[in-house]
């Protein structure tokens, strides 16, 4: 019996901006990816990318208030697509935020987007002040 899922398979998780949910999201993404032809190191890379995207949403989207983060995982013909969405304050200057080393917080590396970009085949960031941020990443199998 094949353990490959139908191409239309997808999963959607929705959770509050609590830091312990970062690991739940990356483990869910890694498990979802494990049904495709990814190597162990590909799956490790997916875990880091999801961890970075969800950590950004937890840290920056809602400041000190509670808010919702959504992660959608989709099986594409060529691999998987993972979308991390928040409805928070948005990123004022996406190009600046994506620069390696850019951070607004002490003891942070400012490498979140750099890791997402390096570890995934595609990275698209859409953000609007006041309505939130959507990070869409594709990893080809």
């Amino acid at each position: 019996m094949s353990n490959h899922l139908p191409l239309s398979n997808h999963m959607f998780i929705r959770f509050p901006n609590v830091s312990s949910n970062v690991s739940v999201a990356r483990v869910a993404a890694a498990t979802f990816a494990s049904f495709r032809e990814f190597s162990i190191s590909d799956i490790e890379e997916i875990k880091v990318a999801v961890s970075e995207a969800v950590s950004n949403a937890v840290l920056h989207a809602y400041q000190d208030s509670q808010g919702i983060i959504e992660v959608t995982m989709e099986n594409l013909g060529e691999g998987i697509q993972i979308t991390v969405r928040d409805y928070g304050k948005g990123i004022e200057d996406v190009a600046k935020a994506r620069q390696p080393g850019f951070t607004t917080m002490p003891e942070h590396m400012g490498l979140g987007f750099t890791f997402m970009e390096s570890f995934m085949d595609e990275l698209h960031v859409e953000s609007q002040a006041g309505s939130g941020t959507t990070v869409r990443m594709v990893k080809k199998a």
Partner: protein, 126 residues
Amino acid sequence: MQIEFHMAPLFAVARVSGELDLSSAAKFRSLIDQELRKSGVPNVVVNLKNLSFIDSTGLGVLLGRHKAVKSWGGKFILTDVPPKIMSMLEMAGLMRVLETTRTEQDAIRLIEACGYVSQEEASTNE
């Protein structure tokens, strides 16, 4: 994430297991800082053999502890770094900043060669 400490007069060995990310970074920082404050030892050996995951938040907190220990002239040495953690350190450019050795014994030899005796004395020696 868990840390098991082994103390010696010149150094603390911190054996870290689990995952170092946003949910555990603050715990890592406070456990290391607390242990150093309590014991007064100037040097830290961080054994990463059982660290199974790190992301940029985890790397940031390692760099932060390195800077704190360096501020009083102590040594912050990573040992037994698993290959996937090592490649994250390399990608982040931290191999140019952080000191690493293959084993705890190698790190201890390096520290003993320096011979610091306390955080205060290490600071005065700077």
